[in-house]
Symmetry: C2
Subunit: 234 residues, 2 copies
């Protein structure tokens, strides 16, 4: 319910804004409103290219042995932007209580712990509700059956939906007054524009600046790979 | 599209609103950060329940005849929130150049034109890129093959991804100073919180207040059906 006070406030708001606009006589340029809060925050903002993560799996040495054979190695298919990371030729099938997802890409290199990153929609297909986590934070996460060409493994944990995050070198973070682990807002323009809040900064020495979102987040904002978004609101 | 002028206007709007708020000493401080811009704008905001739309089809009389038999009628499975709208028992298969989606729900009642609403991810499966449109705006949209139990039809247009929008009665719109067709920002709290911009207000006489988003938008913001979000930034 709008109170009289709020009605007055809004009328004042608009009238004042209009008057200032008239005074400024600013013509219609092509700038998009989606950038407003960034523009407010500072004149120069950190622009970050987007990297869209489809569902994928990181494997431990033990699970690699089970799924692809003892001593097997991941074959590099394509380098990822983050140094040393790559998409492997190997894929697996994920099987949950409700359904399965096939041809799920394995990412290399091997890790100390197996981790399965899926979207919320993937979770519906599998019948598993993935908690929102940063990579590596696997306590109290559900497991899933992983099926490879040489065997299968039923993990007891490791299924997550990745929290959106921004990789960047420590120097870039310092330059913009950001700290590792800090949570920022990211402004996206366009026909499905908006603001992503709760975006975690991951500032480490050898990182390449890139915001990771999953396919659903990308589609919800009509984001493409390598499209630039702006950090603001920190 | 917002012009630079409108951007400036909004910035001034918010700054002035804040100042007036301070002067009047209105406003609690317990609200979450995610609500900041709403709180800034006014003390009381319009809260709107979310309705999540999965892929669905609206059929014309002619296409209904082809797919389900001459003179066939949709059988009501479940009422939708908007008066007169319902999910039908009937489902169809969509077939595109790359793949197919089965068990796609038909929504009733029948419409003058067949319309197919899918997500961007659905578009990848079908091999069809759905343009972002408001319901009924079908010029220059792609077609798809629709397969029913009695026949199939190849439409030449009608495939869209729905623009997020808010249904509301005209009186509610008037109460909050909103106009039909106006574009607003919507603030969402929570672990995947943020702001959805470019949300279109659809104020018509018999509407029930509800924001429609697709499954990807819902999952990107961790939104559930009937969860409340806040209109702000208009």
């Amino acid at each position: 319910m709008d109170s009289k006070q709020e009605t007055i406030e809004r009328i004042i708001d608009r009238a004042l804004a209009q008057r200032i606009m008239q005074a400024l006589s600013v013509g219609g340029s092509e700038n998009r409103a989606a950038n407003a809060s960034c523009v407010q925050a500072k004149t120069e903002v950190l622009q970050v290219p987007v990297g869209i993560s489809n569902r994928h799996v990181h494997l431990s040495r033990t699970d690699m042995d089970t799924l692809f054979g003892p001593g097997s190695a991941l074959r590099r298919k394509k380098a990822m932007k983050q140094p040393g990371q790559f998409a492997a030729e190997e894929t697996v099938t994920l099987k949950g209580p409700k359904g399965a997802l096939s041809k799920v890409r394995v990412l290399g290199p091997l890790r100390p712990e197996t981790q399965v990153e899926i979207s919320i929609a993937d979770g519906f297909v599998l019948g598993i509700k993935p908690p929102l986590r940063m990579s590596g934070q696997l306590d109290d996460t559900p497991g899933v059956e992983i099926i490879g060409p040489q065997g299968s493994v039923k993990t007891t944990q490791g299924v997550i939906a990745a929290m959106r995050h921004i990789h960047m070198p420590v120097e870039t973070a310092a330059q913009f007054g950001l700290r590792n682990g800090e949570v920022v807002d990211v402004e996206v323009g366009g026909e499905r524009g908006g603001v992503l809040r709760q975006v975690v900064v991951r500032a480490t020495g050898d990182s390449v600046t890139e915001m990771h979102v999953d396919v659903e987040e990308a589609n919800a904002f009509s984001l493409q790979n390598d499209e630039l978004v702006r950090i603001c609101g920190y």
